[in-house]
Symmetry: C2
Subunit: 308 residues, 2 copies
């Protein structure tokens, strides 16, 4: 990490300890904002609200909200404004996990070390939980204390990232690929849609809070592209190298479902190497940016540390 | 309908023929806007886009978009601006039908006279179709050519109407009520959430396009409340009096599923009477409104004509 230390002359200590301090300060804020965004479990209909809170408020890395806040640091955006897109993107992420885990899709009964929503409650409620979280994400986003023009861009950004050209489209490609074969490019497209879209939206929404069509967005897009893909490759590696208890979700599921993954296409050593290269690309993308890029560097390094 | 003819002195012919002419002029516009809002079926991922188009572009009364355009007539809102909320609300409606028809929920294989999405494609894709339509609704809404402040209110309105305190919450109440007993008030709350929310949002969004916090919104809320409930009662009556072919969806399903309905609680004659009273209340609510209320009267009358 020495290279970008020299290039970003900001008064910030680029050590893992300093980043960890930043992260530990943000996590309770993110959790509190998520808590506030969800109706109490006593509100009618109580079972739906209970299940929504179960789906969102359990353990979670909160990577997407952290990306929002870290990008905001570059532009000195007020954290109060960032809370809204940060919460909204995490609600969409949680909604997609609930639907993705359903029997008709990934059929998974373990998520973040706990029973998935359709196992804990039932399948019908899990479908409604996903829908309600989707709606609540846009409800929260519409309350962002930003200029109204910015707000329109935020909604367009998150809706685009969640829809058929983003997250949901990626899931449809994933579905179509089961049992078939994907080449490297198809696999990359799938991952960019399924994982990359929301990662990219997290970064872009924070930049948009700083002003209209920010000229630094291309660099941030490169950063988001790189860490999004690295994250997916590391996820694929985890799926075959870790057990379910460590993973908090069912291990070995990709192979069981006949899914093409980075590891099945490239093998383990090359997948590891590619993930490392992408993390380096992410660091590089930040080099020309002004302001405090340390938290974004820290997040890229954190993802890298998860590479087994 | 003579009463409101005297009270609304606008240059508009309040005859069913005149309303029908208005409706027939709006329907192709609504259909075209929906078509434009959905990616072509050739766009990647094609199967998802094909299924989204199947779910939306088949037959449909387009009541919610018609309500948007009819409310816009009162305030002389440009139809070009209304196309966006009108399309968005119909996309949410279509999404909710796709999810509602799933085996885990209503388990229906017939909708609008055709196979439901999970029957025509598969269950996994039907879940994704609903999610993608949800996202696309907000994508479309974010493009409304309106003042940015208005846009924030539109998003908040539609998100609120779709979420756990609106449509999706109503479906959760419906789910919880299967096999149990609901009293009149609970049934009314369920219907107001499940059907009323989007009806109300259709009317309110059009009024919001006309200006901030329009003072006429309470009257429009009364109108929407009344026709939303009437619509649901008539739906309940249809379920036991019509056959599946006429209905375009499976008839007798409420009784099969042990669902409390207006008819099961009040009996057929009183349900009919209540529906008629509600339609009268809807006409009454429009009486003090300025501008061209004829299309809103016409829609209330159209719903009434569906009462068997």
């Amino acid at each position: 990490m020495n290279r970008f230390l020299r290039l970003n002359n900001v008064a910030y200590d680029h050590t893992p300890a300093s980043f960890e301090q930043w992260r530990q300060a943000k996590l309770p804020r993110i959790q509190f904002a998520l808590d506030c965004a969800l109706p109490p479990a006593t509100t009618e209909p109580p079972r739906l609200h209970h299940a929504m809170r179960y789906a969102v408020l359990g353990a979670g890395k909160r990577l997407r909200p952290l990306l929002c806040h870290a990008t905001g640091e570059i532009f000195s955006v007020a954290p109060d404004a960032l809370d809204y897109p940060a919460t909204a993107v995490e609600l969409i992420h949680a909604a997609s996990l609930v639907h993705d885990d359903l029997p008709a899709l990934d059929n998974d009964d373990l998520r973040r070390g706990r029973a998935t929503v359709h196992v804990q409650y039932d399948e019908a409620l899990a479908i409604l939980v996903g829908d309600a979280l989707f709606a609540q994400a846009f409800n929260v986003l519409s309350q962002t204390p930003a200029e109204a023009e910015c707000l329109a861009r935020l909604v367009k950004e998150l809706a685009g990232a969640s829809g058929s050209m983003g997250l949901t489209g990626g899931e449809a490609l994933d579905l179509a690929a089961v049992g078939g074969t994907l080449d490297v490019m198809q696999l990359q497209t799938l991952h960019q849609m399924k994982t990359g879209s929301l990662i990219r939206a997290s970064v872009r929404m924070a930049a948009q809070c700083a002003g209209s069509s920010h000229p630094l967005i291309p660099e941030l897009d490169h950063y988001a592209h790189a860490i999004g893909l690295a994250l997916q490759i590391i996820d694929d590696i985890h799926d075959i190298t870790l057990d379910s208890a460590t993973l908090g979700k069912t291990a070995g599921k990709d192979a069981r479902d006949g899914k093409a993954t980075y590891v099945s296409v490239h093998g383990l050593p090359m997948s590891r190497q590619h993930a490392t290269q992408l993390i380096e690309q992410a660091h590089d993308a930040l080099q020309t940016l002004p302001g405090n890029t340390a938290p974004l560097h820290g997040l890229a390094a954190m993802i890298h540390r998860h590479l087994p």
